[in-house]
């Protein structure tokens, strides 16, 4: 494929770019959801698609999330590659039955006779001062389900490559986009149709003193924290998990085995969050290399607050640095 010039795009524009690319490349790709057509999606992730590919392939559905997920399943079994949009991840709970009881297990329960190559994507997480139920972090619900893949991009380039990979994957993928990163920054993304690897964490900054693990929206604060630590002479390794399920434990264990210190940062409530799963894997496989206990920085086990206090719930750079300092107090560098 010809290399195309990289344009500076936001994360949501990268999503749109990937959808355009894949719909042009594969006529089986269809997009469905609420307001995805003429309106281009409430975040404009699907803008221009219906004009280009027609209402048959870019489908405005009735206001029914369960139906959207179920239709995607039905389509996928017929060889289409549906990319369903749910407007906010807080409205995905009504899709859970369809995803856990059907999408995730159709291949297994028919021994490969019926398969379900679908993507269901939604903006995830807080920080956009939205109304109630519009700021949830739901990744752990889906990551718990065998048979699903759960992907959470954190940069425009990764959003582009991972979405292509998700659409091309022969199994169902839950694709959760950090809403507050949609327009947070721009990055050069070549529309080259090259998919990013699923099942692989991205080590985006190498370091020797400490491993910072996160994904999605929290990666922004983690990067700032890593910069500040570097200014203080602490050399942090930064890993974007990106694909939460199946989890690339190997990369995480290798990093923590090297640094001996680990802080995992997530936005969702703490109990049963995906940081807990990662911490358990690290405890099992890297315990002997640890100088200090694994630390988690997460949202609280509270209801996600409304806009005026959401910043108190979402971990900030200060909380991340405080956890790092505590780790370093227990096991000083040097």
């Amino acid at each position: 494929m010809a290399r195309r010039k990289a344009a500076e795009v936001t994360l949501v524009e990268a999503i749109n770019l990937a959808l355009h690319h894949e719909m042009a490349r594969d006529e089986n790709v269809v997009v469905l959801g609420e307001d995805v057509g003429a309106n281009g999606g409430v975040f404009r992730a699907t803008v221009g698609l219906q004009e280009k590919f027609g209402p048959g392939r870019v489908i405005d559905t009735p206001l029914a999330e369960l139906l959207i997920s179920a239709m995607a399943i039905g389509m996928a079994t017929q060889g289409l590659k549906p990319v369903a949009e749910i407007q906010f991840s807080g409205f995905m709970y009504s899709c859970l039955d369809q995803l856990a009881n059907h999408a995730a297990r159709l291949r297994h329960r028919t021994h490969g006779r019926i398969t379900c190559p679908m993507v269901i994507r939604a903006p995830n997480g807080g920080g956009i001062h939205a109304p109630e139920h519009h700021s949830e972090s739901v990744e752990a619900f889906f990551a718990h389900v065998p048979g699903l893949r759960v992907v959470v991009p954190s940069t425009p380039a990764r959003a582009y490559g991972l979405l292509l990979a998700a659409i091309r994957d022969p199994d169902p993928v839950v694709f959760l986009e950090p809403a507050r990163c949609y327009r947070l920054f721009r990055e050069a993304v070549a529309d080259d149709g090259i998919a990013a690897p699923l099942d692989t964490c991205f080590v985006e900054r190498e370091g020797t003193d400490l491993t910072l693990i996160s994904w999605g929206g929290m990666m922004h604060e983690v990067r700032i924290a890593a910069d500040q630590l570097a200014a203080d002479g602490v050399d942090a390794e930064v890993i974007d998990v990106a694909t939460l399920k199946p989890l690339d434990t190997q990369t995480l264990v290798a990093s923590v085995a090297k640094t001996g210190r680990c802080v995992i940062v997530e936005e969702s409530p703490r109990a049963g969050g995906w940081a807990s799963e990662i911490a358990a894997e690290l405890a099992e496989h890297a315990m002997m290399n640890l100088f200090a206990p694994i630390a988690r920085v997460s949202g609280y086990d509270t209801i996600m607050p409304l806009a005026r206090t959401e910043a108190r719930f979402i971990p900030d750079v200060g909380r991340i640095l405080s956890a790092v300092r505590k780790t370093l107090e227990i096991a000083p560098l040097g």
Partner: protein, 366 residues
């Protein structure tokens, strides 16, 4: 001046039709459609119903003797199962709930495989490529969840301009669920080639139809979604074939979706783990037996097609032999190996699961 009440205008009204061709004794209530006058076809349908009934009875007997897991019998629903199985074309797609084993049987799935599934082995749903049911969905267990999926299947057919139809069944209980409502409400928007069949067997475990919904019919839920809704006597094979075939033909021709409420009766317990005597009168069940779909078609065949007692004896022997072979095959099939847990979980087993798969296969905890 009009009163406020007088100023109201009627913007919609509706009626629901019930189709019934044969009375309980198999006597025609009207001039039957041409298809119903072809004896070979009716004999074929009757044979299928007999196979389904023999299968249902054997499945329950196997469970009672500890050779099968919990089973949800479709006893009494053979006519509507057969009518769906016969109405579907090879290229059509069927999505069904767990009680309708008759449809996959009609669509070529070996009896032994259906037993294998209810015997606790997923391979029972790995249906052979050679049978019409190959593209059909596996039994849906979460009630009504299959109904909205049918829209996606039908959408794919429509997008590709194929003259195929999707048919989905659910029970009367399922019609109370949001899944059902969302699907019926949306199907008409795209005029999808989908036929919804509510197999109303009057009971959702212990809840009777009257406690499920106050609507006079469940068929009218189709009208609420802007699509055709009608009732058929689901124990009248000839009427049910007619209604289902007409609905499928409409769907294939692009005329849009339809809802059929097939009236029947669950003669069995909800499942083998249930005891319906706790909540329903024996007298009601005795009455329902008088509307038995096999007896009714049998009477018609005797009266109109020269079907004799010897024919019946021969048929029952052939069906019993088929069931016998299936049971033997099923009982001789060993359980899946432990590593099968990881088979077909994903297209390719992700590296993250290699250690677990190794452990499950007896390799020890990683």
């Amino acid at each position: 001046m009009q009163t406020p009440d007088e100023a109201r205008t009627r913007v919609a009204s509706f009626e629901i039709f019930l189709t019934r061709f044969l009375d309980d004794d198999g006597r025609p209530l009207c001039r039957l459609p041409a298809a119903a006058r072809r004896p070979q076809r009716l004999l074929h349908a009757y044979r299928l119903m007999a196979r389904i009934r023999a299968f249902e009875n054997k499945a329950v007997a196997l469970q009672r003797t500890g050779q099968l897991g919990t089973y949800a019998s479709g006893l009494g629903q053979e006519a509507v199962n057969a009518a769906i199985g016969l109405g579907l074309a090879r290229d059509d797609v069927y999505l069904g709930n767990y009680r309708e084993c008759g449809v996959p049987l009609a669509r070529g799935v070996p009896m032994a495989q259906i037993l294998q599934y209810w015997g606790g082995d997923e391979r029972g749903m790995a249906w052979p490529r050679t049978v019409p049911a190959f593209h059909d969905f596996p039994f849906a267990v979460p009630v009504a969840s299959q109904v909205p999926q049918a829209l996606g299947v039908a959408y794919a057919m429509q997008l590709r301009h194929e003259k195929r139809a999707t048919l989905v069944t659910c029970g009367d209980g399922a019609s109370s669920k949001g899944d059902f409502a969302e699907a019926v409400s949306a199907a008409g928007v795209w005029k999808l080639p989908v036929v919804f069949v509510i197999i109303n067997n009057q009971w959702a475990i212990s809840l009777p139809r009257s406690r499920q919904c106050a609507a006079v019919t469940l068929a009218q839920k189709g009208l609420a979604g802007g699509i055709v809704g009608e009732q058929v006597d689901g124990n009248d094979l000839i009427a049910t074939c007619h209604v289902i075939e007409t609905a499928l033909a409409r769907a294939r021709s692009g005329a849009g979706p339809q809802l059929v409420e097939a009236l029947t009766y669950r003669l069995a317990d909800h499942t083998t783990a249930d005891d319906a005597r706790r909540y329903r009168d024996a007298a009601e069940v005795d009455t329902a037996r008088k509307h038995d779909p096999l007896a009714r078609l049998h009477a018609w065949l005797e009266a109109q097609c020269g079907f004799t007692a010897q024919d019946e004896t021969r048929l029952q022997a052939e069906v019993a032999a088929e069931v016998g072979v299936a049971v033997k095959t099923f009982l001789a099939t060993p359980a899946p190996p432990p590593e099968a847990l990881f088979d077909a979980l994903y297209a390719e087993l992700p590296p993250a699961l290699h250690a677990q798969a190794f452990a499950a296969a007896g390799g020890g905890e990683a």
